[in-house]
Amino acid sequence: MTRYILKRLLLVGPMLLAISIITFLFINLAPGDPVLAMIRPEDRVVAEDLERLREGLGLNKPLYVRYALWLREALTGNFGFSYINGEPVLKRIGERIWPTVELMGAALVISTLMGAVLGILAALRIYSIWDYALSVLSLLGLSVPGFFLALVALYIFAAKLQVLPAFGMSSAAVGTQNPGLADHLRHLVLPAMVLSVELVASFMRYTRASMIEVLNADYITTARAKGLHERVVVLRHALRNAITPLITIIALRLPILVGGAIIIETMFQWPGMGLLAIQAIQQRDYPVLMGLTFIFSVLVLFSNLLADVLYAYADPRIRYQ
């Protein structure tokens, strides 16, 4: 197992290098000029100014030199500097990581709990009206686009009922006192709930399928034959085995969660990495985009690895070669 993990870790380096090269080429060869995106059309800018800007950003050097420079910056730790405000990319991304982690974490907790509970209930009442309703609801959860759900949630809770705030992370105006944790959590409710819907649906489907499989296993029949109470059979014998595969699914969903976070953060103006991604795309802030691609790819690589490892850990029958 340790050897397998090491082998996979060795692949991470070349993978990330390849990804950075491909992303770099795409970003820099694509039509569109970051310098032109930077200036305001109403300013009178002459060609020399543009040249000077280009030179300042190093954009006049050949492509491979620029990549080498980027790589050096990446390895020495700040991933270059934002075209927009000259800050180190790592600092810009760094201040956005925590809000995203918080949002995704909240969504993961909600969806894991709800998905597991609903999935188990559906499996225990298999082919009942509840099972049927839950399976239709879960397909609905997978089908409704996150942004539409967000609009509906905003319409009901923020616009009509006015019980929850619509945008941002807190209602602090500039220069006022921090309104505190409760206010912050109130801002978290809507985006986290909306982000978790799709996950609840998918976790529920997995839990249901896995619970049904487990309930048909021989050792459950044995446990029942021993005359154990049904509650004990379900809670002690079935539940543990049914839940473990879910760990893998959660790890595999992490990268997809990033996509959801991009949309949800943009809609709720939640200042995380997703909102930064959209801003950087609109401003053609290439160094920030490179940095974000890098971080998202690392997340994908490690959550896949995590999924494999957790899977083997949870089920000793799995062997990797």
Partner: protein
């Protein structure tokens, strides 16, 4: 991932004992039939948009800005005085077009790479699968937004980018199926008879993987439609004045519009949800009909 728990084929999967059996199994799946009907309605709407719409989706009536639904404008008008129902009907055309063509691209790439990789084995397989993993490592939605924004947000680019990034799962699925089909007697027989490689792949291996491709492609269609909608919603996909369900919702990003003109964003949102739901139902039904052994995951 090299997980080895899959119960290895104990007996050959007998797919399509007859086409009728599969069709009958599909018809027994009530939600799938419902999904198919919904999809057909939307498809007809897309094809006959001109006849159904009654209004020009692009020309606004400046006396009729932001009108609520009425007899003349069934779903009201938007901020430029354009008929929302007409835009919805024409939006169906774009959403269907983008979804179907993107999935066609993904399916062709995925099937070819999977077939070649699984059948050739060895170095070819290794290279193709490492490449597939590389593409999978790109965070899909972010990569789609980034690429479309870089090469220019228009219908063609949206289709190509979604199609070109969407084939990886399918390629791995097809490869797995090809690996087991490759060992069948009839394939060995064809090889012994000197049937050319291409013909073996197309005539003897492809029919065996096709049911799996169909199921996977249906699920891909759902995600392609969702991706296009999200992209256009963010204003980074298909641009105005062309209407798609996604960019019709774009206006609702402002709170006053969201609150006061629900007719602008509710219908397109419901259309997207209903279409994707229908596609998912059809996918479920297809899976049960074509190969009951694929399980219920």
């Amino acid at each position: 991932m090299t997980v080895t728990t899959m119960s290895v084929e104990a007996e050959p999967i007998v797919i399509n004992q007859s086409k009728n059996t599969a069709w009958r199994r599909f018809l027994r799946h009530r939600l799938a039939v419902f999904g198919l009907v919904v999809l057909l309605i939307f498809l007809l709407m897309a094809v006959f948009a001109e006849q159904i719409a009654q209004h020009d989706p692009y020309r606004g009536d400046l006396d009729q800005l932001k009108q609520p639904p009425s007899a003349t404008h069934l779903l009201g008008t938007d901020a430029a005085g354009r008929d929302v129902f007409a835009r919805l009907v024409f939006g169906a055309r774009i959403s269907m077009l983008v979804g179907l063509t993107a999935v066609a691209i993904s399916s062709v790439i995925g099937t070819l790479i999977g077939l070649v990789s699984g059948y050739a084995g060895g170095v070819v397989d290794n290279v193709l699968m490492r490449f597939t993993e590389l593409v999978m490592t790109f965070p899909t939605f972010f990569a789609v937004i980034l690429l479309v924004a870089l090469i220019g947000p228009n219908i063609l680019n949206v289709i190509v980018v979604i199609g070109v990034l969407g084939w990886t799962g399918l390629a791995r699925l097809v490869r797995g199926q090809t690996l087991s089909l490759r060992e069948r007697e009839y394939v060995t027989a064809a090889q012994a008879l000197g049937v050319p490689l291409w013909r073996i792949l197309m005539r003897h291996v492809l029919p065996g993987v096709l049911p799996h491709v169909m199921v996977a492609a249906t699920l891909l269609l759902a995600s392609a439609i969702l991706t296009e909608a999200s992209l256009s919603f963010l204003g980074l996909g298909v641009q105005m004045p062309t209407s798609t369900w996604g960019n019709m919702l774009n206006a609702a990003q402002s709170l006053p519009v969201l609150t006061n003109q629900p007719w602008l964003w509710l219908p397109p949102g419901l259309c997207i949800a209903l279409t994707v739901l229908a596609v998912n139902f059809v996918g479920d039904g297809l899976r049960d009909a074509l190969d009951p052994r694929m399980g219920n995951r």
